[in-house]
Symmetry: C2
Subunit: 231 residues, 2 copies
């Protein structure tokens, strides 16, 4: 599975990642030295929760889900990620463990960079470090949304927020093929798959969201936003 770094995806990775904008050529070289790319089939695990955080990943191709697993085996999907995105967990500079699992939803590829070379570049480029802080703060803002949704919203509100997230943040379109099963959608909202199905049916009848297996089309965004806001 491991390849040398000649694929277009991996070569493009450097400059396509907004987080890498502030790096000098020398700093990019330092990161590239240790870089390698791996391909994954749908359903394969890129990163396993609990495992050692030795590398930073950069998704170059495909679609993955980032999810946390609890003691009882229940999952919650934190985010769905498309290229080009850096995947760097909170174990970095902390306990050097992965705090989430990353699983491919479609055939995917990711570059891996040694954490040490990444850290060295952070140390010598403070603008890069500030960009990294901004990057983390963006994630934190999203966590607040997640927490607000889970704490107080009803299932319609939760699912509305999830579909808006997928539409705006992930697929950037009112209609999209999500590659998510009903179970995935349930794990992304904190409901059961049956509840997801019932709400989707309701919205199809009301003309708010059209859906067909993993394809979605938001027909009435205002309604959906209102449902998301009010609960």
């Amino acid at each position: 599975m491991t390849e040398t770094c000649q694929s277009t995806n991996c070569a493009d990775c450097n400059r396509k990642l907004s987080l890498f904008q502030s790096l000098t050529d020398g700093q990019l070289d330092k990161i590239n030295e240790s870089r390698f790319e791996i391909r994954f089939g749908a359903g394969e695990t890129l990163i396993k929760q609990g495992g050692p955080l030795t590398h930073i990943a950069c998704l170059t191709k495909g679609l993955v889900k980032i999810h946390i697993e609890n003691h009882g085996g229940d999952c919650f999907i934190m985010s769905v990620v498309r290229p080009m995105t850096l995947i760097i967990g909170p174990g970095f500079l902390r306990d050097n463990r992965h705090h989430y699992t990353v699983t491919a939803l479609t055939e995917s590829s990711a570059c891996f960079i040694q954490v040490e070379s990444f850290k060295k570049v952070l140390e010598e480029n403070s603008q890069f470090a500030l960009d990294m802080i901004a990057f983390l703060n963006k994630k934190i803002i999203r966590h607040y949304q997640n927490i607000g949704n889970l704490a107080h919203k009803h299932m319609q509100g939760k699912l509305a927020e999830t579909l808006i997230y997928l539409s705006e943040d992930v697929f950037q379109s009112q209609e999209f093929k999500s590659n998510l099963s009903r179970q995935d959608l349930a794990e992304l909202t904190g409901l059961t798959k049956e509840s997801v199905i019932r709400v989707l049916k309701e919205w199809k009848e009301e003309g708010i969201v059209d859906s067909n297996s993993d394809y979605f089309k938001i027909l009435n965004k205002d309604s959906l936003l209102k449902i998301g806001r009010n609960g």
Copy 2:
């Protein structure tokens, strides 16, 4: 309410904050230049969600809660914070807005530092920036706990995790006076106050946790951990 910076608390602030360990005297001076301290009575608002993020706060005295408010007015308390702790929200380097409200639970004091001087020091001291990244990652790990609890746990599991959080992370003791009302406890767990009351009563009868108004004593930590883990 504003004072010059002569109180022992505020003067101590610099070196007591582990995040400031890597700063040179000159960098501390830069931060101190713009610093001022304010006292707050119990119930007063230190920072208001939605407001402009012009300053970083450092809690020097008292106890505060950090909470997010949703559209319908429901609150979720993210954390309870004791001195000395830096309070810097995810709007920093992002939209320069506060994404949470900070309210005093007891009479409290906080130093405020201009965001610009803070940012300048981050730019010139990359070790400080790395420490900041580690600080944010710690928060993110806590968010994952929050999300895992809210997504799948029953009320006993949620409340168990909350009490363990208060005991271990906030008060560092098996018994503590929380200064939290039943409503606060509900907002910290995502339950209603009535449900919190019922679970606490159950645990008092079972000898797991003794409680009396805002005083708590964990009698059987193993049980509590097990309840937290299993749901």
